[in-house]
């Protein structure tokens, strides 16, 4: 039977196809170049402005007048062209798209590599560059090569001190940084069905760290229920059986332990216990990988009634997440632990502002990339789950969560 990627794109793996896109989004970083390229193309038309979103998340609020000016130009452009515009503080583009703006079966492109996050909803959502996005603004469509798929079967239930992020690091270790290049990952099995939407988004989000084009979950009851909270009523079809994957991996969730990606590669993954006791200069919780409500709850549970022993920063993934945490009391717990709370957005993830590390400093982050110098020149960054980040913040050193 066909894969989910083949179903959504409507052609067999290996085919080159042209498709209209259902939604297309840029952020304040890539949008600037997209606008430039669109102007240079000289057509002056936008095929479907209502399908285009401009979401400010990378450097919000602006850090200097150069950034502010670039954002001003893009903001005015988006409004003038009738695009959906999200001001800084609404949230990270992938989270905003995941809050009722991504539906099963849709084809979505984002000018950001983590656009694969939308695969959590059974949409074919993938990242492209700025110039290609400009051509999509202009024409409404683009070309795709239908990818073959790697099936990742998740079985069993996670232990208490593990979460989706540990599973993501596990499959990236298995595949390597390029094991999924030109391919789609499809998360299957009972373990996948049992994951919340927030957790599915973590696994889809990190697909690109294995080089994959998409990270897909079939829409099911959980998807339906989540989207109904945003006023969408979707039909759920029973998943295909006997799908033929190019490659199949299996992960026993019950056998998982907390993991850590060590500098400077996402696929150099070790158990947290191997690095336990390593002194930290900063802990960062947030990003399109781990800044969702579920993550804030995990953080609050990990720091409740205690005080962090190292500079610790939280950037909620969206205003909606922040509001929910405010209403539920989760935010109060986080603040009482001495954690710095940034506005919703990407925060220091890309090393541009608010929480950049200095030379020789060591950080632990719930982000998705630990490339050399990314979050500060001469710094070292480890990647982990939220539970690991919370336990490590409380002790000031890398710590296995759950008191093991």
């Amino acid at each position: 039977m066909s894969t989910l990627a083949e179903d959504i794109l409507g052609a067999p793996a290996g085919s080159y196809i042209d498709r209209e896109v259902d939604r297309a989004f840029v952020h304040d970083g890539t949008g600037v170049l997209t606008r430039e390229a669109w102007l240079a193309m000289g057509h002056g038309t936008i095929a479907h402005p209502e399908r285009c979103s401009v979401i400010f998340d990378h450097i919000v609020p602006a850090n200097n007048s150069t950034t502010a000016h670039l954002q001003h130009e893009l903001r005015e452009f988006a409004r003038e062209k009738g695009m959906q515009f999200y001001e800084g503080g609404c949230g990270i583009c992938h989270q905003v798209m995941g809050e009722g703006n991504t539906l099963p079966g849709e084809i979505i492109v984002g000018a950001d590599s983590h656009s694969c996050t939308g695969g959590a909803f059974g949409a074919f959502s993938t990242g492209i560059g700025a110039t290609e996005m400009a051509a999509i603004w202009l024409s409404g469509s683009t070309w795709f090569k239908v990818p073959s798929s790697i099936g990742i079967a998740l079985e069993g239930n996670l232990p208490n001190n593990c979460e989706a992020k540990d599973v993501a690091l596990r499959y990236i270790r298995m595949l390597g940084m390029d094991g999924g290049t030109y391919k789609a990952l499809e998360f299957i099995g009972d373990g996948a069905k049992g994951l919340t939407i927030d957790s599915r988004m973590v696994l889809s989000n990190m697909a690109v760290e294995a080089g994959a084009k998409a990270g897909l979950f079939a829409a099911d009851k959980t998807t339906k229920e989540y989207l109904s909270g945003f006023g969408h009523s979707i039909d759920v079809h029973p998943p295909q059986e006997n799908t033929s994957y190019e490659q199949e991996l299996s992960i026993d969730l019950s056998g998982m332990e907390p993991l850590l990606a060590v500098p400077h590669r996402v696929d150099t993954v070790v158990p947290v216990k191997e690095k336990e006791g390593l002194a930290l200069d900063q802990v960062f919780i947030g990003t399109c990988t781990n800044g969702r409500y579920e993550d804030l709850e995990t953080l609050a549970a990990g720091v409740k009634g205690q005080t962090v022993q190292v500079r610790t920063i939280l950037a909620p993934a969206s205003r909606r997440v922040l509001e929910r945490a405010t209403q539920s009391g989760v935010l109060q717990t986080i603040l009482e632990a001495g954690i710095i709370v940034l506005p919703p957005g990407c925060g220091p993830c890309l090393g541009a502002h608010m929480g950049v590390l200095g030379e020789g400093e060591v950080g632990l982050s719930t982000a998705n990339r630990n490339f050399k110098n990314r979050m500060g020149v001469g710094a070292e960054y480890y990647l982990s789950s939220v539970a690991t980040a919370a336990a490590s913040a409380i002790h000031g050193v890398i710590t296995v969560p759950g008191g093991n």
């Binding site: 080159y16 970083g29 890539t30 600037v32 170049l33 430039e36 390229a37 240079a40 193309m41 000289g42 057509h43 450097i59 150069t66 950034t67 670039l70 000018a111 950001d112 590599s113 656009s115 990242g127 492209i128 560059g129 700025a130 110039t131 290609e132 400009a134 051509a135 202009l138 070309w143 090569k145 940084m177 390029d178 290049t181 030109y182 690109v208 080089g211 084009k213 590669r265 890309l350 090393g351 541009a352 990339r369 490339f371 050399k372 110098n373 990314r374 020149v377």
Partner: protein, 157 residues
């Protein structure tokens, strides 16, 4: 068309943060990206990229979708990039900004040696050895022949 340059040999998994660091992205000044290309790998590289063919290991251009990465390399004067595989967004971006790429494995690289490539015919030649490269799709060849996607669409006004 046959393109020629001298070889610059790079390793595997060269990521886009290394090609152009995030701290240089907030500008429209393309010369700034060229001036800082590959800086975090070797700060002296940017000045030596003009007229070169980069021969790299697998998964070149992995990481972020930043188009500034191929723009920086092209702006610094890189003629073409040869690697056994490319990260897919980088691959599309490079074609879209008119930077020729050749997906070819087993190319031995000697720093400074002459390298010739043909994108249309799909080959790389260096040290007297010609290696076949994976063919591009018809659309990709059209975009590259136009000089990039902007020019491709300009011609279709």
């Amino acid at each position: 068309m046959v393109l020629s340059g001298t070889a610059i040999c790079l390793g595997e998994d060269i990521d886009t943060d290394v090609i152009i660091a995030g701290r240089y992205l907030r500008t429209k000044d393309r010369s700034l990206w060229a001036a800082h290309a590959l800086e975090d790998l070797d700060p002296t590289l940017a000045d030596r990229l003009s007229g070169t063919v980069i021969v790299a290991g697998k998964n070149f251009g992995c990481g972020s979708s930043r188009e500034q990465a191929p723009v920086a390399l092209k702006g610094a004067g890189v003629v073409a990039v040869v690697a056994p595989s490319f990260a897919r967004i980088f691959f599309r971006n490079a074609i879209n900004v008119g930077l020729p790429l050749l997906e070819a494995g087993g190319v031995s690289c000697e720093e400074g040696a002459p390298v010739q490539v043909s994108v249309e015919e799909g080959w790389v030649e260096t040290g007297g050895v010609r290696t076949k490269a994976a063919p591009l799709s018809e659309r990709m060849n059209e975009i590259l022949a136009a000089g990039g996607l902007v020019e491709y669409w300009r011609m279709r006004r």
